[in-house]
């Protein structure tokens, strides 16, 4: 069942909410059990057999967590074995469904082994669910989660607003909320929930989907893509996935809020980022948080301690040596982003995309260390170089997205060549004739008039232009709703421009009318079912 379907909005959600509030009036724990069962139903709707996979996985993880809790203090070695086998179990579980075919294909590519590919159907949201379960095991082992029941654990794993595509949540930030939730109708929660949900629905259906249909042919085109088309393909997909994922994240926040639950921030205007590091603190925030806490930090910590024990120089800020930088920062960063790429999808393009981002992040870190050597004044640097950083980040992200979307690495390279002008620059003849004398100059510069659709170009430029303005210039939903804590920890900034105070979301008639329009636009576009990009991961 998709969030963006009639059935979900007008069937599932009203029934689940009504049941939740009615049961909540009698007993809170009935309401929470109802919510757990409703979430299981939500998951089963897509393919009932998936329940047979997720249920044993929940039971096994729960058993292992209990063992960890029991032996954590008294028998540390045993606890470690349990933890490692738990992590291995979850990775194998994910590996079988997601990576077996990829692995067989890679072996075939490398050795010409001719293995027959096993086609396994990916259970919905398995990548997200797996990461969340691994985080839980580690948290129990580390003593960050001390008490839990089976009912709590099942609700934590299955809670449907974040089940399929995140945010990846921690037990310790969710359970206290479930335990404190009144499970009653609450006007503020419903108003904030409805607003977030319909903002998200409109982003997905009105902004992302039409763009997806527009650019799809450019990614299957067999002839080389010329410069303008290549940029339309890359920018178009960047904005498509931006509004798709931003929309999904808003809807997840909104749906959880109906039940009085706040989810963590997942998406915070990433295209406004002024550096690659900044980008990853704004795009898929809960994934960055997971990867940092459970892969990057333990890895650098262990590596740094080891280097220190050997008496080699460790990371020392501006006095860092090249070898310390390579082993303690660049290496772990690239490895972490490699895992991130692989996690997104079993394919060479995703892996390369991850490594590319790892390299970009490393360059960003290296520059941070080197910069003070020839530009000492941090304040003037920030003022002058922030726009440059923004442009570099934006272009890097767009190039990366072309790789993320392209069906093969060859396709991505072709697109990149197109973007830098290897395949020439063409303009539809119909438009060319409007340029007057400028047309001659352009032609002298190598711009070719061709027979192609002028309306495609116009539509693409308009859509991309408008969406870029929205993404770069308007406040995001978290900022608009900041007075009502739309996501965990989001509050109004200490200083904000006066106009922001005037436009911020309030339960006012003007906002009601505005949101009704947003909701209507979303609902009227519900016709075609289209999955969220992140549901495939």
């Amino acid at each position: 069942m998709l969030f963006n379907s009639y059935l979900f909005i007008f069937g599932y959600m009203p029934v689940v909410l009504a049941g939740f509030w009615l049961l909540g009036q009698r007993r809170r724990d009935w309401a929470l059990i109802w919510l757990t069962l409703a979430s299981l139903f939500f998951y089963a709707w897509w393919r009932p057999v998936n329940v047979l996979l997720i249920a044993p996985s929940i039971a096994i993880n729960y058993g292992l967590s209990r063992a960890l809790q029991r032996y954590g203090e008294t028998r540390p070695v045993l606890a470690r074995v349990v933890l490692l086998s738990g992590i291995a179990f979850n990775i194998c579980f994910l590996g079988y469904f997601k990576y077996l075919t990829f692995l067989q294909g890679t072996i075939n590519d490398a050795f010409g082994a001719g293995l027959i590919l096993t086609h396994v159907i990916l259970p919905l949201g398995i990548s997200f669910i797996t990461f969340q379960k691994i985080a839980f095991l580690i948290d129990v082992h580390a003593g960050r989660v001390t008490s839990f029941t089976f009912r709590d654990y099942a609700l934590f794993v299955l809670f449907f607003p974040q089940l399929v595509a995140g945010p990846i949540v921690h037990y310790r930030e969710m359970m206290p909320q479930f335990h404190a939730a009144p499970c009653r109708f609450d006007a503020e929660n419903v108003a904030v929930g409805i607003s977030l949900f319909f903002f998200g629905l409109a982003k997905k259906l009105v902004f992302a989907d039409p763009l997806s249909r527009l650019i799809a042919p450019l990614y299957t085109q067999t002839t080389p893509v010329t410069m303008i088309d290549a940029w339309i393909a890359a920018l178009g997909f960047t904005l498509q996935i931006y509004f798709d994922f931003s929309g999904y994240s808003d809807m997840a926040l909104g749906l959880a809020r109906f039940f009085g639950i706040k989810l963590p921030v997942n998406f915070n205007s990433p295209l406004k980022a002024s550096s690659m590091i900044d980008f990853w603190l704004r795009w898929h925030v809960s994934l960055t948080r997971f990867l940092t806490a459970y892969i990057y930090n333990p890895l650098t910590l262990a590596l740094t301690r080891r280097r220190q024990a050997k008496g080699k120089p460790v990371f020392g800020g501006r006095n860092t040596t090249v070898s310390a930088f390579a082993t303690l920062l660049a290496g772990p960063t690239i490895l972490t982003m490699f895992v991130s790429g692989l996690w997104h999808g079993a394919g060479y393009t995703y892996v390369l995309w991850g490594v590319l981002h790892g390299l970009l992040l490393s360059v960003n870190h290296a520059w941070r260390l080197l910069r003070p050597r020839f530009w000492r004044d941090a304040r003037s640097y920030t003022r002058l170089m922030k726009p440059v950083g923004f442009v570099l980040t934006f272009v890097s992200v767009v190039f990366g997205m072309a790789l993320f979307r392209a069906p093969t690495i060859g396709g991505a390279v072709g697109l990149w060549q197109g973007m830098v002008g290897f395949h020439g620059l063409t303009v539809p003849k119909a438009l060319f004739s409007h340029f007057g004398p400028v047309a001659n100059w352009l032609q002298a510069l190598g711009v070719q008039p061709v027979w192609s659709s002028g309306s495609f170009l116009m539509e693409a430029v308009l859509r991309i232009g408008i969406l870029l303005l929205i993404a770069l210039c308007l406040p995001n939903t978290l900022e608009l709703l900041s007075r009502y804590e739309p996501a965990i920890g989001v509050r109004p900034p200490r200083q904000q421009p006066a106009w922001m105070g005037r436009f911020a979301w309030t339960p006012s008639p003007a906002w009601a009318v505005g949101l009704a329009c947003v909701a209507a636009a979303g609902i009227l576009s519900l016709g075609e079912l289209s999955e969220f990009l992140y549901w495939q991961f």
């Binding site: 003593g143 990057y296 910590l301 990371f315 800020g317 941090a378």
Partner: protein
Amino acid sequence: MTEQDKLATLTQILRDLLGDDEIALAMDTMREDVPGWDSFNYVNFIVAVEAEYGIKFRIAEIESFPNVGAIVKAIEAARPR
């Protein structure tokens, strides 16, 4: 060593790490308060602190320090005066 001495040492470590001499840490400073002190730099900071005092924090501890004051307290707990 007093809390203030430790705070001064931590401030110097962070200044060196981030290359920013205007950083001034207080007991209630949080990571978000210092520009550029993101999760990547955090581990390096922690290891530098460990090296300075010859101590070792537990991973769970490192993840859950709410502010600089908590780190100072953890150093004192690890090495009583």
